[in-house]
């Protein structure tokens, strides 16, 4: 019995030590782990751009940085509270436990309460939460904007089951908007104002290094903004459960120098490539169900699936789930359900020849 009791105390101490160390080093641990794994993630990123992981303590722009600064204050207060109160618990447990050889029937002094002490532990928490509430409100006000910041690039984000559509609203662009899918390109050091809309269910747009999440809700327009301060491929993913492939609705934001961004924009404005050597593939694309859902400007105008006019300017397919290369693309067209089970793209049961032709056609859409 003695050994069990001693063991219990020891184990309790070990546990509290573990909890304290773990919580104090939580963020640090994440810090250590995060950069190390960046190498593998960049396999689908262009070699020149660093991949920025969805890690909230690595902010790359104002909203994320404001949150980051506030969160250290909160973490600090909570860590102090944790250590103090947990320390009180364990001090009490160790000091006031029944001594091993205590066989007496005497009860300890009965203390029914103490007004000063109880008032103290009402007032002190009140003061702490008052401070927290004030800083919270201040940060809310500086992040939640009601209109676009001056000079912002305006983009409409439309969440679909299970991919993202982006429409650039820019007066400089003929037609007023450019439609792209899944990969958002932005210039660095310029605010980007996102108008969030949903085509079906609720999604949530969350790129942690740039900004907090904002829900994408049908029949309810939301706005959010960010301002990337360094070049890179920023990762994120849908953060509101939206059905089968919620996990397969990845976010990719490419932030580049303004001139590179302008060059990219030009490729998206350019007319559809019309390569006669893949005419057979284009015909299959038009005749089969592909054209019902996908738009290729001048070829088809489906609205339910990603615009493919400049497919080959992207790095991934299936909303970031797979890299865009000829083999994967062919496998994806052959049987989308194998790569992304439950997604809305059906297998059209094309034979080998048709499959090759359609793949070849899509590979020309630069």
């Amino acid at each position: 019995m003695k050994s069990i009791r001693a063991g219990t105390c020891l184990a309790l101490c070990v546990f509290v030590a573990f909890s304290c160390v773990a919580s104090a080093s939580a963020v640090a641990a994440a810090e250590i782990c995060a950069p190390g794994s960046a190498a593998t993630a960049s396999s689908v990123a262009p070699p020149t751009v660093p991949t920025i992981l969805p890690y909230i303590f690595d902010p790359h722009g104002p909203p994320a940085r404001m949150i980051h600064d506030l969160s250290w204050l909160v973490l600090g207060i909570c860590a102090v509270l944790f250590i103090v109160v947990e320390g009180m618990i364990f001090y009490g447990v160790i000091v006031y436990r029944r001594k091993k050889n205590d066989k007496s029937k005497n009860e300890p002094r009965q203390v029914y309460g103490s007004n000063p002490v109880e008032i103290a532990w009402t007032i002190i928490p009140l003061l702490i939460v008052f401070v927290l509430a004030l800083t919270t409100v201040r940060t809310i006000r500086s992040i939640e904007l009601t209109k676009a910041p001056a000079g912002a690039l305006e983009v409409v984000v439309i969440g679909h089951q299970w991919w993202w559509e982006y429409r650039y609203l820019d007066a400089n662009v003929p037609g007023g908007e450019i439609v792209v899918a899944n990969e958002l390109h932005v210039p660095i050091n310029r605010p980007v104002w996102l108008r969030l809309e949903s085509a079906d269910v609720i999604h949530s747009w969350w790129v942690p290094a740039l900004a907090g999440k904002m829900d994408v809700i049908p029949n309810h327009t939301n706005y959010t903004w960010f301002n990337a301060d360094s070049e890179g491929l920023y990762l994120g993913q849908c953060a509101e459960y939206c059905g089968n492939q919620h996990a397969g609705m990845l976010l990719r934001v490419v932030a580049s120098k303004p001139e590179e961004f302008d060059a990219w924009l030009q490729t998206q404005i350019a007319p559809t490539v019309n390569d006669t050597s893949v005419a057979m593939g284009r015909e299959i694309f038009q005749e089969y169900a592909c054209s019902n859902c996908h738009t290729v400007k001048g070829v088809s105008d489906g609205q339910f699936a990603p615009d493919l006019t400049h497919l080959m300017s992207r790095q991934t397919i299936a909303a970031g789930v797979a890299p865009l290369d000829p083999t994967t693309l062919r496998a994806w067209i052959d049987n989308p359900q194998a790569l992304k089970p439950g997604c809305n793209m059906p297998s059209l049961q094309l034979d080998t020849e048709e499959l090759d032709a359609v793949t070849a056609y899509l590979l020309t859409l630069r």
Binding site: I4, T8, F15, A22, S23, A26, A30, C33, A34, S37, P54, Y55, I56, F57, L70, S71, I77, C78, F82, V85, I89, G92, Y96, R97, P108, R109, Q110, V111, Y112, G113, V117, E118, P125, V129, L132, T136, V137, I140, R141, E144, L196, D200, V201, I202, W206, P208, G212, K213, D215, I217, N219, H220, N222, Y223, Q237, Y241, N244, H246, A247, P341
Partner: protein, 555 residues
């Protein structure tokens, strides 16, 4: 007073069939309470199997053990089961068993309504689980519901939820919800009307106070959920447009209704646990609870404030800054009474003579774990921080610390504490100590790393994740905690069965405790007390055991 446990001889001599019959037709609050807890523990194991499957799936990136649809069913059923079929019935079961004994009554106010409530809950649970077979409907689309336990519209609309899975979710919860409401009515009437002579409100054991508050919250929150579910049924079957964005219906309106229920629900799940801790810590610290009136005040203010915090589940919905600010403030405010409780428990232990039985170990574990969950809750109340953390694995870690590390540890503590009263036999202490450490290690391993994967940007409810984002290690550690918890559950079940057969005989008052349930035999006779007791203070048995210095001198 020191009599051997009274075994209801009439019962042990009965055949199996008639014994089952006697339980099924019973309107005795003790049998009903035990059936609530027993059924809750069975659902706990079902929910645990679902959780185990999820952890296996998430053990490595791009795992394909479960299909996305299968995984989505698992987390929906896990959440729904744990909240509606484990948390509520187990806690209401303890209330059922203990309230009449603690206030010196012979039974609940409405015994037959009480039985009705139990069977509604069991039927509701079976209806929900029948969806695994019947959810296909005529469409052949997937079994169990896959919409998440908070079933956000429009995922629940006919367009996105084909078949009948969602209907089983609605009806199963609605039916068991009616059961909970009848139980709450019973609690209120029992506590208001059936107290023994001398038992004023300010002499009630704190557990009874907490259950009284829970009764109010159940009666207030569950009808709102039922109403929202009726609206959803109208949408699905009559073509109404409550949550139909195509016809200007608002999907956010569902969230408001759901969380107006959902946040008090969280307190429905934690307040009874507070009540258990309020009974157990004083007895094993050998000290009266510190600051009884403040505890009552804190309880009532938690209940009151909990009505005005629901929007903190919706900070990322894009509500105006002033609304977010108000709800952030109210959420911070609720930390104050919760903190008072925590300090009062520590104050009770302070200067005591603490006996570390398994029950007390679980109670201490509750303090340790709940504190952590409470502090991460404060982080989530910081709206901008919540914009990052909400709907990430951080939240999953947070509420498991509160509901598993909090509620369930308190329930285990209560099982070890009141098992001898209910059965007349003590649970094995050495085996219990193993159970405790298995759970502490398992809980920490499973739920602590979830905070980190959340900080690293892993959203909740994903059936898989991409390699190379830093999630792998933390998910692997999370999954590695599962075996410890399984061993813990198995040890607990073995302990219960073994002790029922040949556990040490407990006697009426094995813990030298102070509330009225220990004044009767273990197990109590069917009428609870041979003579209705009287009550002179919040600790009537202390007064009897210490006539030289009774509590009533200090009132």
């Amino acid at each position: 007073m020191t009599t051997a446990p009274i075994h209801p001889i009439s019962e042990t001599s009965m055949g199996f069939g008639s014994r089952v019959h006697s339980w099924v037709i019973s309107v005795d609050h003790k049998k009903l309470g035990m059936m609530y807890i027993g059924a809750g523990l069975i659902f706990f194991m079902l929910g645990g199997i679902e959780a185990t499957l999820m952890r296996l799936q998430l053990m490595k990136p791009l795992n394909d053990m479960l299909t996305p649809h299968g995984f989505n069913q698992m987390f929906t059923m896990h959440g729904t089961t744990m909240v509606f079929l484990v948390g509520m019935p187990v806690l209401l079961g303890f209330g059922n068993y203990l309230i009449p004994l603690m206030i010196g009554a012979r039974d609940m106010a409405f015994p037959r309504l009480n039985a009705f409530g139990l069977w509604l809950f069991i039927f509701g649970g079976l209806l929900l689980y029948y969806s695994f077979i019947g959810g296909d409907g005529l469409y052949g689309m997937g079994g169990a519901p896959d919409v998440g336990w908070f079933a956000y519209s429009p995922l629940t609309s006919k367009a996105f939820s084909v078949g009948h899975a969602t209907d089983y979710w609605i009806l199963g919860i609605m039916v068991s919800g009616f059961g909970s409401m009848t139980t709450a009515i019973n609690f209120m009437a029992t506590i208001v009307c059936m107290r023994c002579p001398g038992m004023t409100f300010m002499r009630m054991p704190l557990f009874v106070w907490l259950m009284f508050t829970v009764g109010i919250l159940v009666l207030l929150a569950l009808p709102v959920l039922t109403g929202a579910q009726v609206m959803l049924l109208f949408d699905r079957f009559l073509g109404a447009h409550f949550f139909d964005p195509q016809q200007q219906g608002s999907v956010i309106f569902w969230q408001h209704l759901f969380w107006f229920f959902g946040h008090p629900e969280v307190y429905i799940l934690i307040l009874p646990a507070f009540g258990m801790i309020c009974e157990i810590i004083p007895v094993f610290s050998r000290k009266v609870i510190f600051g009884y009136p403040l505890m009552v005040a804190a309880t009532l203010s938690i209940a009151f404030i909990s009505l005005g915090v629901w929007v903190h589940h919706m900070f990322s919905v894009g509500l105006p800054p002033w609304l977010n600010s108000i709800f952030a403030a109210s959420t911070f405010l609720i930390a104050v009474p919760t903190g008072m409780k925590m300090f009062n428990w520590i104050g009770t232990m302070w200067g005591g003579n603490i006996r570390f039985t398994v029950s007390m170990m679980f109670a201490t574990g509750f303090l340790v774990m709940f504190l952590f969950g409470g502090l991460t809750g404060i982080m989530l109340a910081v709206v901008p921080f919540d914009w990052q953390l909400s709907d990430s694995y951080f939240v999953v870690g947070h509420f498991h610390y509160v509901l598993f590390g909090g509620t369930m540890l308190a329930v285990f503590s209560a099982v070890f504490y009141w098992f001898p009263k209910a059965t007349g036999r003590l649970l094995s202490e050495p085996m219990g100590k193993w159970t405790f450490w298995m759970f502490m290690i398992g809980l920490t391993l499973t739920f602590f790393p979830m905070h980190l994967s959340g900080v690293l940007g892993m959203p909740r409810r994903v059936y898989t994740y991409q390699p190379g984002r830093g999630f792998e290690l933390w998910n692997l550690i999370s999954s590695s905690g599962v075996p410890f918890q399984i061993v813990g559950v198995l040890l607990l079940v073995t302990n219960i069965i073994k002790s029922l057969i040949n556990g040490r005989v407990a006697g009426p008052d094995p813990w030298d405790a102070w509330t009225l349930e220990w004044a009767t035999s273990s197990p109590p006779p069917s009428e609870n007390f041979s003579k209705i007791p009287t009550c002179t203070s919040p600790r009537p048995l202390w007064d009897r055991k210490h006539p030289e210095d009774p509590d009533c001198f200090y009132e």
